[in-house]
């Protein structure tokens, strides 16, 4: 009885994005080891970094260490992973993305920067960090 499931029938990139979205760091690591492309897109056209569980700094670290592009924007809303991490308030992930050259001045289609979203949600620690850059 394992926790989680294995998606035998999916392409590796679909498995990778699913594992990243579930915050399953061990699975993310093993899929990358098995040849999943870190910047490959799933059947919805998204990369693992775009859909990862934003609170899982460990998953973010593994993906970024493997060369995940932190500046890929959502095709519909223009949000980057930094927008989503800032909006959900996970400071550790925000810091990590910035360290791996995520652009703090990226604007989504509503012309908003990550710091604007963090401010909307009252994540004062994230606002302070992004303003200090």
């Amino acid at each position: 009885a394992a926790r989680g499931r294995t998606f035998w029938t999916m392409p590796l990139e679909d498995e990778l994005t699913a594992a990243a979205a579930k915050g399953d760091a061990a699975q993310v690591r093993s899929l990358l080891g098995a040849g999943a492309q870190v910047n490959g897109v799933n059947c919805f056209g998204r990369t693992a970094l775009q859909v990862m569980m934003m609170g899982s700094t460990r998953v973010a670290q593994i993906l970024l260490d493997h060369g995940a592009d932190p500046n890929v924007a959502d095709g519909t809303t223009g949000a980057t992973p930094l927008h989503d991490a800032a909006r959900s308030g996970f400071l550790d992930t925000v810091r990590l993305l910035v360290r791996f050259t995520a652009d703090p001045n990226a604007r989504d289609q509503a012309d908003r920067r990550p710091v604007d979203l963090a401010r909307d949600e009252c994540h004062t620690d994230v606002v302070a960090f992004l303003e200090s850059l």
Partner: protein, 299 residues
């Protein structure tokens, strides 16, 4: 219930995050707010009268819960029904998505683990959410660290509650691997299913917050029960449910071990509460409301 026609694109899936027995769960983006949501769909059989009464009733119950805006359960934002064919309708529940679960939260905690005060706060919130669901006659049935969500501000929100009945009534059963680790004896023995089920799971999770690894990691129903009995002891003949296939005789007699052997960091009142949750007989197990009044939570 809203009936969707054509291609409504307010919710755009970005990744599949669960599947199997229930239908599929997607992480999706609400293109109006820009925020992530969780889409949970279930396919239900329909006849000339439309959706089954039981489905409509369960969905109505979830919507009624929503009116209370309880801080410790995820928001149900929307419900859509899409007719797939004459015989089948897809019901999609749109929930708030929280980008961190308790499993991730526990893994993140630096050694030696979460401070005792933080554990107490998480437990209080978890029990508040459960007491709310139970007082509305909703049971969770599958509580585990993966569906207990923790926001970046440390707020606990229960997810996936109330779905079990919607699913179990109508889904086409597909074999799927589900974890046994948080299942109480009465479910392993297939004897009864009521709100005490969730309290057992909560006890397992309480222990895990200190241990940072699960308390009972069984590989089969029998193995899971064996692991439980090794810790809490073999219950008396009277406590063993009648009319179950698995007899008490299958298990060696064992007296209870001190719970602090397994959860050394817990304090005395915490250990007392934990034992009241990990009580074999569901009728003697503490309720969520009573647990909140336990001395562990005083001061």
């Amino acid at each position: 219930m809203k009936m969707a026609h054509g291609t409504s694109v307010q919710y755009e899936p970005v990744a599949e995050i669960g599947g199997g027995a229930y239908g599929t769960v997607y992480k999706a983006r609400d293109t109006e707010s820009g925020k992530f949501v969780a889409l949970k769909s279930v396919r239900v059989q329909t006849d000339q009268n439309g959706l089954p009464v039981s489905t409509v009733r369960e969905v109505a119950l979830l919507r009624r819960l929503e009116q209370f805006d309880h801080p410790n359960v995820v928001r149900l934002m929307d419900v859509c029904a899409t007719q797939r064919s004459e015989q089948e309708t897809k019901v999609t529940l749109v929930f708030e998505h929280v980008d961190q679960d308790l499993k991730t939260y526990l893994e993140k905690a630096p050694a030696p683990g979460l401070p005792p005060g933080r554990i107490k706060d998480l437990m209080r919130q978890l029990l508040c959410g459960l007491a709310f669901l139970h007082s509305n006659r909703v049971m969770h049935r599958d509580l585990k660290p993966e569906n207990i969500l923790v926001t970046s501000q440390g707020q606990v929100k229960l997810a996936d509650f109330g779905l079990a009945r919607i699913y179990s009534c109508h889904m086409v059963l597909t074999p799927v691997v589900v974890t046994l680790w948080y299942r109480p004896p009465e479910v392993l023995l297939q004897s009864s299913y009521a709100t005490p089920v969730d309290i057992w799971s909560t006890g397992c999770i309480f222990a895990e917050m200190f241990r940072r690894k699960p308390l009972f990691c069984g590989e089969s129903e029998v193995d899971q029960l064996g692991k439980i009995i090794k810790v809490i002891g073999l219950p008396s003949e009277e406590e063993w449910p009648t009319n179950v296939t698995l007899s008490r005789k299958n298990f060696p007699s064992a007296s209870p071990s001190p719970i602090t052997d397994f959860v050394p960091e817990i304090n005395e009142s915490g250990a007392q509460l934990l034992l009241k949750m990990l009580t074999f007989d569901p009728t003697k197990r503490i309720s969520a409301l009573k647990a909140l009044e336990h001395p562990y939570f005083q001061n």
